[in-house]
């Protein structure tokens, strides 16, 4: 029984002896040329079809929304911090210093009252 099994296996193993090459359907060259023409699109056509993909469109939209949200949040933060800066006492001093500096420009010397 096992002898027979072994013989069957060996027959299967040898079944590819004398195999001939398979051949593709005729006019392969014409089909290859057609494919080459299809792939030889301009860069703008390729870009257009890439952008038109739903995955690209949706992910770009999500990115734009995230970018906008980050900008809005940052703006709110900066407005809040500038409000704090204006109302703080330290800022009053610096305002005065600039006022003093502004009082001693060359214009003041030239137009000084007698």
């Amino acid at each position: 029984m096992s002898e027979q099994k072994h013989r069957d296996t060996e027959e299967i193993m040898d079944s590819l002896d004398g195999i001939r090459r398979a051949t593709p359907a005729p006019f392969l060259y014409t089909r290859v040329k057609a494919r080459l023409q299809k792939e030889g699109r301009t860069i703008w056509e390729q870009l257009g079809s890439f952008v038109a993909r739903p995955v690209v469109t949706v992910s770009t939209l999500i990115l734009v929304l995230i970018f906008n949200a980050v900008i809005v949040l940052n703006k709110e933060k900066s407005v809040e911090s500038s409000r704090i800066a204006i109302t703080s006492p330290q800022d009053n001093n610096s305002y005065d210093e600039t006022s003093l500096l502004a009082a001693t420009t060359s214009y003041d010397y030239v137009n000084a009252e007698p």
């Binding site: 099994k5 069957d8 296996t9 027959e11 299967i12 193993m13 079944s15 590819l16 004398g18 195999i19 001939r20 090459r21 398979a22 051949t23 593709p24 359907a25 392969l28 060259y29 089909r31 290859v32 494919r35 080459l36 792939e39």
Partner: protein, 186 residues
């Protein structure tokens, strides 16, 4: 015509050289691809892809190896890429079916019959091809190149960019694995 001359002409953009290349090597490429993917339609598609790549990347062929060796490498790589893609799709389909999203009927392809096998050996060859599909990639490639394409150990080693002794070992393991699979199926 000398293959070096053909390659040079193709590099210069000669369309007739490309036609000669396709006509000369189409059977070799198709037979190799068919041996790996075991589906005529897919093999046709991949064969076209191989020649498209040849046309587009002929400038990267430096002539270190034979032109046919370069072609075999492209054919093997494209076939394996196709197999991996198919496996990924199958896995994804299985996950989708778990969530009940996929109501498509899974079609299991029938046994593969290589058109070059003699009529009296068809059934046995189909069983062998089924077992070949279960082999690891390297063993499968070495076996197909040696048994289906009839390449020598040296030629297989050139295509696979490995030593002859590695090819011998791969083929030895492939044969013992095939025997194991075939005996298990009985």
């Amino acid at each position: 015509m000398d293959e070096r001359l053909l390659v040079e002409r193709l590099k210069e953009g000669d369309e007739s050289a490309f036609r000669i290349i396709v006509d000369t090597w189409q059977n070799m490429v198709y037979n190799t691809v068919l041996g790996i993917v075991q589906q005529a339609e897919d093999a046709e598609d991949i064969t076209q892809d191989v020649f498209v790549q040849v046309y587009q990347s002929i400038h990267s062929f430096k002539g270190d190896a034979k032109f046919s060796t370069w072609l075999y490498r492209i054919a093997v790589t494209k076939s394996l890429d196709h197999e991996r893609k198919k496996k990924r799709k199958k896995r994804f389909g299985f996950i989708r079916s778990l969530f009940g999203e996929d109501n498509e009927v899974v079609i299991h392809p029938p046994d593969f019959n290589h058109p070059g096998v003699a009529l009296d050996k068809k059934e046995k060859a189909a069983a062998l091809f089924h077992a070949i599909n279960l082999l690891p990639e390297n063993q499968r490639i070495a076996f197909v190149l040696n048994k289906v394409e009839g390449l020598s150990y040296q030629e297989v080693s050139d295509v696979m960019e490995t030593s002859v002794s590695s090819v011998e070992s791969l083929l030895h393991r492939a044969k013992s694995n095939l025997r194991k699979h075939l005996e298990e199926e009985k």
